[in-house]
Amino acid sequence: MAISLPMQLTVNGRLHRVAEPQGTLLDLLRDDLALTGTKLVCDRGECGACTVLLDGRTVYACLTLAAACDGTTITTVEGLGGVDGSMNDLQQAFITHDAAQCGFCTPGQLIAAHDLLVRHAAPSESEIVAAMSGNLCRCGTYPKIVRAIQAVAAARHESSATSATPGVPRGA
């Protein structure tokens, strides 16, 4: 049985109308909206590569029915920085600390890390590890990802007195 209904959702700050969402949120993002930053790896919620924000909470897009996303607000890796490709502080830290090797898991890592830093402004190393251990990386970039997250947390803490809510993605 195919679910057939027109629905609306906001992705990275932009409103989209989707006629017949039949598959998963990941299909919708990658195939219908051409947002290929979010990756398909395991297709069953084991690896975290397809992690996106749904109404501010992380979900696996491969396990989320598109039809269940009517009226929701989605943020993908493409929405973390500016429309022009400019980067937020977390993305910049991933570059500075070489937290992406092949880069295939990176979009999911970034969304998971973003979510962690929203929930914990100053996470301990064990909190980082607990929050990020659902995101697999075969290149073994983990130590660098930890460092990048720690650096962002420290920098945000430092600048919190002078700067307003850094790193908030469009539509989040």
Partner: protein
Amino acid sequence: MARKAKPKAGGFVPTTVEVEGRTETRIVEVPAFEPEPWTTDTPLHIVGARVPRMDAHEKVNGRARYTADITRPGMLHAVIVRAHTARGHIAQFDASAARALPGVYDIMGPGDAPAKTRLFGTEIFYHDQPVAAVCADTLANAERAARAIAISYNHLPFAAIFDDAAAPDAPLVKPGGNFAPQSPVIIERGEIAAGLAAADIVITREFRTPVQLHSALEPHGACAEWEGDRLTVWESTQGIFRTRGDVARALDIPQSKVRVIKDYMGGGFGAKNGAGPHTYVAALFAKRMNRAVRCLNDREAEQVDSGNRPATVQRVTIGAKKNGTLTVIQLSADVPLGISGWEGGPAQIYHELYACPNVRSEERFAYINASGMQAFRGPGYVEGAFGLEGAMNALATALRMDPLALRRKNFTKKDPRQGRPYSGNALLACYTEGAERFGWNTSRAAQTGRVSRGVGLAAQVWPTGGGPPSYAHVRINADASVDVLAGTQDLGTGARTVLSQIAAEALGANLSHVRAIIGDTEHLPYAGNSWGSMTTPSVGPAVRMAAMDAQSQLFQAAAAMLDTTPDMLDARDSRLTVRNTDRSMSFADVCKRLGNVMIYGKGSRGPNPANTAINTFGVQFAEVEVHLDTGIVKVLRIVAAHDAGRIINPTLAESQLEGGILQGMGYALTEERILDRRLGMVMNPSLHDYKIPTMADVPQIDAFFVAGADAAANHTGARGIAEPPVIPTAPAIAAAVADAIGAEVLQIPLTPWRVLASVPARR
């Protein structure tokens, strides 16, 4: 400008190149000039700098396009149907129901693919062998149709493990016999009997290693599109030119009609060295339907049938004098290759890591009815290190000798196989600095409650000279921006960045003006596969030479503008200066005056130095914690000291070390493909059931490089580093576990059950 005359320039000479333990002789052109080597003392500004990965921006903002992200107008989707028997024949094949389903464009089954693709025969040799393929408008429709194809089989007896294939009454695994053509492979030096007689202590052990799966997060995949008789293939591959050759050969078309493109790639680790069934399926459907077609492995296909590190059984006899001097090393190994593969066994490292006059290895390579092996990061050496280093640690215990002292005692100053001098070898410095940073001399096993700690170490050697042929071009554009063109590929290793650094350094350009253009067979000069830790030492020298050639032309052009001669010019940061004057000119101003005159430098990789062994060395130290009641092993820290000659970019190289260590840790603790002997099926084809390390498993890692430039290896002074770090990790961890539980460890992965079974009863 640093050049040294080469009398033979322009001619062709033979040279030897070592690829993953196999030595090949190649006939190569001698470059027009051979640059003076960059030595440790050469002042370099960009090479050696911790430059951020130059393609990281696209990776963190989601714009990087991987093969799995490629779409073309009107693109169709293909799905491969796989066999449900480990051995037999297709009795009936009925695709009529599948053809009638909505969105289905085409189906290929038995007999429908050209013979040279070796696809879709009626005889089945392993479970999950491709037997058919479906092409549809959407992936979902293709998958639905694939499930609707009805296939029945006449089942035949099969062999899914080495012993079943090697048994006297074994079923025929495939035509031609159950053993690989070269099997048994025997390599020996000296006399084993003399070595045994000379030994004061001899020990014998049997080691077992599992099948490890590459598990790259981006699956194998291709998108194919024809324009007339010309085919373009986007492929996630470690070798664009090899893929081009495979496709041209299989489809019987000229290489000039095939273009292979690879931009970003989500890991390879050795499994993506050429075209595969997905490539041919995409290309064939694209031809038949006159539409672009994409074919990607799903995760299950990726885990069951895209290559693996084969299992080994290694029976090792090792003997030494009381003072630790090795007198004999003997290996007898069994390796089940799967249905295909090459003789990449564990023996090489037994012959290469230590000075020992009497060494003999005999490797038996059997085919079994299972998916074929492929090279996996450090192939053979990773497996062999577990046996050799395990035996060395057992020997050290038997000798009551410090395992590090035993290794120092048997350090070899020359390549022990052929007696060649090394281009460079800082293994002793690795031992010293690694031991110091680890605190080896003060680390002792200790038990707190039911948790026991232990330490261990293992060493590593790996051929990393790289070699020709490899070409590069460096083009200076009219605005002084610089293109580096090389037909290589970046797997996530950092090749784009490293080659840009070399070009910027050699040209005297500002790095931000330099861009490496790679991964396209149609527009780029040849480079070989990115395997065998070869890209930096193979392509790097060609890039440097091309940049020097471009610089030479730029100097010629600018000399008149600056009222001087080319030999009086220096370049740095995209600015020319006349030596001993204050006259200078930016590259941009020179290029502006030149207009569209193109400065186009060419470079090629020269022959390897004759009679020289080029290797990367290293040692890793591990500290683990073992819970004696649960058998759970936690790796606390790894100290890794490696000598890879000059490091072009320390940040990226450290990432390679950390990544290798973590893959080695997975091999030691959790990674094992489970193949059911009775069904011939892989029982854990998912990332849930096949466990790769997560962030929660990561120990404290202190990974670093020892030594400086290796000017004798090639003129950049850099050797390879991708594979060496994965080699010693598992034996180091196993040694630490053995230290913690007070019993030897002979088999990996060290699952809790295996550890519990090894813990002595008294503990």
